[in-house]
C-alpha cells in the first residue's frame, strides 16, 4: 500500500472538487492556486497561474479528464433535485478554447453557405459542441447537428436550402 498523503473527502460537492483539484495540482508538481466558486447552477474550479500546460494536456485531454472526474465525484454527494454543472478551468483555457470554437463555427458556416455543402468539424466533447451549436443557433442560412459516436462525435454545419 502506498502511503496516502491526501486528505479524506468532504461530503459537500464544492469541497470535493477543491480537494481533488488541490491533489491534482500537487501531483502534477504545480504550485498554483486553486479556487472553487459555487452558484445556483454551477461549481467552477480554476487552477490559476502560468505553468498549467501539463494540466491542460494534448487537445485539452487532461483537463477534460479532470473535469469528468470532478463531475462524477461531486455528483455522488449532490442533491438530486439541484444538480449543478461542474466546470474545471486552467487560467483562461476554456475562454480561449471557446473563442477558437466559435471562430471554427463561423468559418464552417461561411464555407457551407459558399459551397452549398455540409461542413464537418473535428471531433469534440458534448460541452464543446454545445458552444458551437449555441453560437450558430440564430443563423438562418445554416443548421447545425452532430454525427458519429462518442468520443469521435462531431458537429456538422449544413446550409439550409431555401425554396
Amino acid at each position: 500500500m502506498p502511503e496516502s498523503t491526501t486528505p479524506p473527502l468532504p461530503d459537500d460537492p464544492a469541497g470535493r472538487v477543491e480537494v481533488i483539484l488541490e491533489a491534482v495540482a500537487a501531483a502534477l508538481g504545480l504550485d498554483e492556486p486553486v479556487t472553487v466558486t459555487e452558484t445556483d447552477d454551477e461549481i467552477r474550479g480554476v487552477i490559476g497561474g502560468e505553468e498549467v500546460g501539463l494540466l491542460i494536456g494534448k487537445h485539452g485531454q487532461t483537463i477534460d479528464a479532470v473535469q469528468l472526474l470532478c463531475h462524477q465525484a461531486a455528483q455522488r454527494v449532490m442533491d438530486p433535485d439541484s444538480r449543478k454543472r461542474v466546470v474545471v478551468d486552467a487560467a483562461d483555457y476554456r475562454e480561449r478554447r471557446n473563442e477558437s470554437l466559435r471562430r471554427q463555427g463561423d468559418v464552417a458556416a461561411e464555407e457551407a453557405i459558399a459551397s452549398g455543402r455540409p461542413i464537418e468539424l473535428e471531433p469534440m466533447s458534448s460541452a464543446e459542441r454545445r458552444v458551437v451549436h449555441e453560437h450558430l443557433r440564430d443563423r438562418t442560412e445554416i443548421e447545425t447537428y452532430s454525427e458519429g459516436d462518442e468520443p469521435n462525435r462531431f458537429l456538422v454545419v449544413a446550409p439550409l436550402v431555401s425554396g
Partner: protein, 82 residues
C-alpha cells in the same frame, strides 16, 4: 499540500467515485525500467463506477494519473482488477 504520488492521486480519485471508499486499494507493482503498474481494487458493486459507460471514467483516471507521472519520466499503467 505535501507531495502527492501518482498512487496517492489514484487512491483519492477512486475513493471520490465509489460507495465504499474503505475498500479502495491501490498497489504499486514495479515493472522494470521506468515503468510502474498501479493495481486498483474496489468493492465489486463499485466496479462500474470506476469504469463508467464505455470506459469513460477508467480512461479519465488513466489520463490524469499518466499526466502526474510526466515529470518523473515514469511510464504508468493503471490496471483495474475485477
Amino acid at each position: 499540500m505535501a507531495e502527492v504520488t501518482p498512487a496517492a492521486l489514484l487512491d483519492l480519485l477512486a475513493r471520490s467515485l465509489v460507495d465504499e471508499p474503505d475498500q479502495v486499494q491501490v498497489t504499486e507493482v514495479p515493472e522494470g525500467e521506468g515503468e510502474l503498474v498501479l493495481e486498483l481494487e474496489v468493492a465489486e458493486d463499485d466496479l462500474g463506477r470506476v469504469i463508467g459507460r464505455g470506459g469513460r471514467v477508467a480512461n479519465a483516471l488513466r489520463s490524469v494519473v499518466r499526466a502526474s507521472a510526466t515529470q518523473s519520466g515514469q511510464r504508468i499503467l493503471v490496471d483495474i482488477l475485477d
